[in-house]
Every structure is written in structure tokens, then in C-alpha cells.
């Protein structure tokens, strides 16, 4: 048995201790969470490569369609049809690709966030971690902030690729050329710009707090998925449309990139009905198509009702509000995340062993 000959503590008697530097947390966090971080990197990397692979032909088709002259020629119409037919997988939030993409923030957040504290509490290693010289609240704060920043950077980079993929659908000329057009405020809003990292960080922090409260990894992941789903549905379904007061217009030419919030009709300055015209009204005024033959469309009804003194009003969020909306959503999500980190660190500090 070797003698434990060790030098005397150099700081014996020094009452003013300098804390262990924060930067040491980087190596500790990497060693403990490298598999979670590598998993997130692989997922985001695969997503970016996949979007690039399917996005390149989409961009080529779009470039060919808008460069074609004259636009009414059969050859040009073929190119338009070619572009419109390319996008089945990802064109909407409810397509398989869209649903999968919307799960990415919560998958990363829950699987990286929930174990951070829950695994320590589950296996008892918190008794090791919280009795080291670094100090337990500093340990928790350093780890959470570091992981949140890394995840935000990775998802932010991936969000650029998502934005690039959808760019052809946001062109202002699309409507005139008959190309598919989507509002940038609607299609996967939470996966582009600031919102993607903000939602991922929020999911991560929800996971960390759930882990601290529940103290077990798997239930904490399940709780994170549930809480995140509630928050995402509330944001997309109720909150987002109220970020800024919608623009209201009686013009029939609402831009195709606008996000239509509601439509209603007035007659003689009084409210008549909301949404689509009721059947009895159509039968009364517009039973026969006003001109030509063929199936009457929404537009022909609108013209017909307008002739009978009805006015259609539309409230919508213009596409130019994309960045203000991103800042508002990113802002409140990051504020919420900061609050939850503070709550988690407070719990770590006061929790009894």
C-alpha cells in the first residue's frame, strides 16, 4: 500500500475562496451528455441533408417556372404543374413530413432535458455531484445554460435549411402565375427563424424541470411531451394570431401569402354572416351562375353577393409580419425558459437529500 504522501493544501487558512471557474463546466457537461448531444446532432444533420436533397429539385422547378415566357403557354403551364406537383410530403403542417418536422423540437428537448437532473436523482449520483467544490446551484445553472445554448445553436442552423426549403412558396409572384403559395406565418412557423431554437430550448427546460420534480427519467420524458404538446397547440391555435392586430380589408384581393384569420360579410353597414355564405342566401340570389357555365366557385359567389349589396371583409396577418411574429414568439418562449431555469436551479438549491 503506497503512502498517501500528498502536499499540504496550498490554501489552508485562506478564508476567501475563489469559486471553481464556470468554464470547467464545459468539459464536464460534454462528458456526461455527449450521447444526447451527438443524437441531437445526428437527427438535425440528417434532417438538413434530407431537406437539401428534396429541396434542390423544388428550387430548380420553381426557378424554371418563374423564368418561363410567355406564362400562358402550354410549356410554361407544364412547368407550373411540375412545381405544384412536387411537394406532397412537406407542403402542409398536417402532411406526414410536416408532422414529423414539428416533433423535432420536443424530441430533442425531452430526450436531452429530462435526464439532466432525473438521472442524477434516480441513480443517486446527485450525492456525488452536489457535494463537489463547484457548488450545486452553480452546477445546475452552468449545465442547463450550456446545454440550452448548444441546442439553440444547432437548431438555429437547421432552421435556416428549413426556411430555405420553403422559400419558393412565399414568392409574391406565385399567385399571378398559378404557382402554389403559402403564408410564411402558417407553414411550420415554429421550425424557422428564432422560433425553432426557442421551442427546442423551451422543451429542454420543461424536461429538466419535470425531471427535477418527478425524479425519474421515463415519466419525466412523458410529462415533457404532454406539457409541450399543450403549449404548442395553445400557441398555434390561440396565441399566435393575436400577436399583432390583424389587417382588415374589404378588398377581394387578399395576398396569397397573407394568413387569413377570419372572413365575414356586411350589408348596408350591418353584420350579415361570418365565413362562407349560407345556402339559403345562395339559393335566393345566386341559384344560377352569373356568367358562363361550369361549377360555381367561391369567387363567383362573392361577385354575385356583391351585386346584391353584400360586402366581404377579411382580417389577415400580412406575410411582412413574419419577423415581428418570430421575435414575439421567440421572446416569450425564451422568457419562459429563463423563468423555468431559475425555478429548476432554485429547486436544486433547496431540495433535501
Amino acid at each position: 500500500m503506497t503512502a498517501l504522501t500528498r502536499p499540504a493544501r496550498p490554501d489552508s487558512g485562506d478564508t476567501r475562496l475563489r469559486p471553481v471557474p464556470w468554464r470547467r463546466m464545459a468539459g464536464v457537461t460534454w462528458r456526461q451528455h455527449r450521447f444526447a448531444l451527438a443524437g441531437a446532432a445526428v437527427l438535425l444533420g440528417a434532417l438538413a441533408v434530407w431537406l437539401w436533397i428534396i429541396g434542390t429539385p423544388l428550387h430548380h422547378a420553381y426557378a424554371a417556372a418563374i423564368a418561363c415566357h410567355p406564362a400562358s403557354s402550354a410549356a410554361c403551364q407544364d412547368l407550373v404543374g411540375n412545381f405544384n406537383g412536387i411537394n406532397d410530403l412537406l407542403a402542409g403542417a398536417t402532411t406526414p413530413g410536416g408532422v414529423f418536422l414539428q416533433l423535432v423540437p420536443v424530441l430533442i428537448g425531452a430526450f436531452a432535458g429530462a435526464p439532466v437532473l432525473a438521472r442524477e436523482l434516480e441513480t443517486g449520483t446527485f450525492r456525488y455531484a452536489w457535494t463537489q467544490g463547484f457548488g450545486r446551484w452553480r452546477w445546475a445553472l452552468g449545465k442547463l445554460v450550456l446545454l440550452a445554448v448548444v441546442l439553440a445553436a444547432a437548431t438555429g442552423a437547421c432552421g435556416v435549411v428549413v426556411s430555405w426549403y420553403y422559400q419558393p412558396y412565399f414568392g409574391s409572384v406565385n399567385q399571378a402565375l398559378g404557382l402554389d403559395q403559402i403564408s410564411p406565418l402558417v407553414i411550420l412557423f415554429s421550425l424557422r427563424g428564432l422560433a425553432f431554437p426557442a421551442w427546442t430550448v423551451a422543451a429542454f427546460v420543461i424536461g429538466a424541470l419535470a425531471g427535477m420534480l418527478i425524479r425519474r427519467v421515463v415519466p419525466a420524458i412523458v410529462a415533457t411531451l404532454a406539457v409541450y404538446a399543450g403549449l404548442a397547440v395553445a400557441a398555434a391555435g390561440f396565441l399566435r394570431e393575436h400577436y399583432l392586430t390583424p389587417v382588415t380589408t374589404s378588398s377581394a384581393n387578399v395576398p396569397g401569402t397573407g394568413w387569413i384569420i377570419s372572413q365575414w360579410w356586411t350589408k348596408d353597414g350591418r353584420f350579415a354572416f361570418a365565413g362562407s355564405p349560407p345556402m339559403n342566401l345562395i339559393n335566393q340570389f345566386c341559384s344560377s351562375p352569373p356568367s358562363g357555365q361550369g361549377k360555381p366557385s367561391q369567387g363567383t359567389f362573392a361577385q354575385c353577393l356583391a351585386q346584391h349589396g353584400y360586402t366581404m371583409w377579411t382580417s389577415y396577418q400580412p406575410a411582412s409580419r413574419f419577423w415581428p411574429f418570430q421575435r414575439i414568439e421567440g421572446g416569450w418562449l425564451l422568457a419562459l425558459s429563463a423563468l423555468l431555469i431559475a425555478a429548476t436551479v432554485w429547486l436544486v438549491r433547496r431540495r433535501a437529500a
Binding site: T2, V28, G124
Partner: protein, 242 residues
């Protein structure tokens, strides 16, 4: 200097007191055995001492008046918890790296030499080590922090006799060669006989007996620590004056 000073210290979990009215002084430079049956409050007292939990009543200071759990107290105390928790998926080298990173002082050369001597390869995952090796790794990491006080909670409960002997030899070497104060809990009295020179006896959340072992043995007419402890645990007389 007293490494631990408790005055009217108490800890309540829900409605039950795990520890109460604990007034205690443990002097520096001793190997102190904290003895008592299961549920006597040993782990609670140790958790209070290392600052993992906060008192419900009274106060505990460490290392000559530092608040338990304060940065200076954390810096000077190394704790090996029950069942020696380690990050099972990390290698021995990673455990050394993490412990070094989380502390102001860490004697890496000592840790490497000690693990080499024990035949614990640095590339092995902590979870793949035997129980005895895991305990030795946790103890080595604690000692490499060069603590003033080493706190061990039931360190040998899960170990076989040989591993117990080796573990206690390391603890004793740290105490005698380097003057590290040691506070260890156990319900296995035979292991403490050789190493402990100070005794704290807990039963039902209260201190029954505390003092230097040779002094206690002489004044109670007992020949061994085990007999003395058994006598007190059976009869449970009121705490004697020290």
C-alpha cells in the same frame, strides 16, 4: 478545531423526526465512527454535515465554524455516499476528469497512481468495475481532492470481507499519514474496531453516547467497542456526560 459541531440539531421528514436534539462536537484529527441500528439517523446526520440537506431545527457547522454546505465547507469536505454512486456509463478516466473539473484542488497524479496500484484500468467503465473497485474508485476520487474531512456513509456495507479490509486500510492510511479527519457511519461494528478512535452512538434519532473510544471503554469497564455499543443499544440509557 472541531470538524463537526451540532447544537440542538434536528431533521424532520414529514411528521417524523429522523434526528432530534443532537448536540455534538467531533474534534479534528480523529477517525470517528458513527454507529447505530438502521434508521437511527446516521445518514441524516451525515447529509446535514455535508450540506446535502438543511436542518429543520438547530444548526450544524463544520471545519471550525463553517456553515455546512457553504462553498468553503464543500471545498474542504469529501463525501462518499452510501452505495458509492458513480456515473456508470463513464470511464474511470472520465470520472477523474469530472472530479478534477468540479473542484479547486485535485491531485491527479495521486489518483492515477492509486488506481494503477489497485489494478483499476482508466479505460474501464465505472459500471463494469466490481463492487470493491467501485468503492475504491469513489474513495480515491474523494481523497485526491485533499479534503480536511472525509465523510463516508456505510462505505463497506456492500463489500465482501477482503474488499472491506482493503477499503478500511486506505481510509486508515489517509488518516494516519496525512492527518485527514474521517467521519464514517456503519452498522457493522467489527470493521470499525481497528480504525475508529472516536465514537458517536445514535439510536432512534438521538445521540446516546459520544467520546474518545479509549476514554469511553475505560469509564464504562468494557473491553471492546462492540460490547460497549451493544450494551448501550440494548439498554438505551440516557446520554452520559462527556
Amino acid at each position: 478545531m472541531n470538524v463537526v459541531e451540532a447544537s440542538d440539531l434536528g431533521k424532520r421528514y414529514g411528521g417524523t423526526w429522523a434526528l432530534r436534539d443532537c448536540t455534538l462536537e467531533i474534534p479534528a484529527g480523529r477517525v470517528t465512527a458513527l454507529v447505530g441500528p438502521n434508521g437511527a439517523g446516521k445518514s441524516t446526520l451525515l447529509n446535514l454535515t455535508v450540506g446535502l440537506t438543511a436542518p429543520s431545527a438547530g444548526a450544524v457547522t463544520v471545519l471550525g465554524g463553517l456553515r455546512a454546505g457553504s462553498p468553503a465547507a464543500l471545498d474542504g469536505i469529501a463525501f462518499v455516499a452510501q452505495d458509492t454512486p458513480l456515473y456508470k456509463t463513464l470511464s474511470v478516466a472520465d470520472m477523474i476528469y469530472i472530479t478534477r473539473s468540479l473542484n479547486r484542488g485535485f491531485d491527479t497524479a495521486y489518483a492515477r497512481a492509486r488506481l494503477d496500484e489497485l489494478g483499476i484500468p482508466p479505460t474501464r467503465k465505472a459500471g463494469k468495475l466490481s463492487g470493491g473497485q467501485q468503492a475504491q474508485l469513489a474513495l480515491t476520487l474523494a481523497l485526491a481532492r485533499r479534503p480536511l474531512l472525509l465523510v463516508l456513509d456505510e462505505p463497506v456495507a456492500m463489500l465482501d470481507p477482503i474488499a472491506r479490509h482493503d477499503f478500511m486500510a486506505t481510509v486508515l492510511a489517509a488518516a494516519t499519514d496525512d492527518g485527514v479527519s474521517v467521519l464514517l457511519s456503519s452498522h457493522v461494528l467489527t470493521e470499525l474496531e481497528r480504525v475508529a478512535d472516536y465514537l458517536v452512538l445514535l439510536a432512534r434519532g438521538q445521540v446516546r453516547l459520544a467520546g474518545a473510544v479509549d476514554h469511553l471503554l475505560a469509564s464504562h469497564g468494557q473491553t471492546s467497542l462492540e460490547e460497549l455499543a451493544m450494551a448501550y443499544l440494548r439498554e438505551q440509557p440516557p446520554a452520559v456526560t462527556r
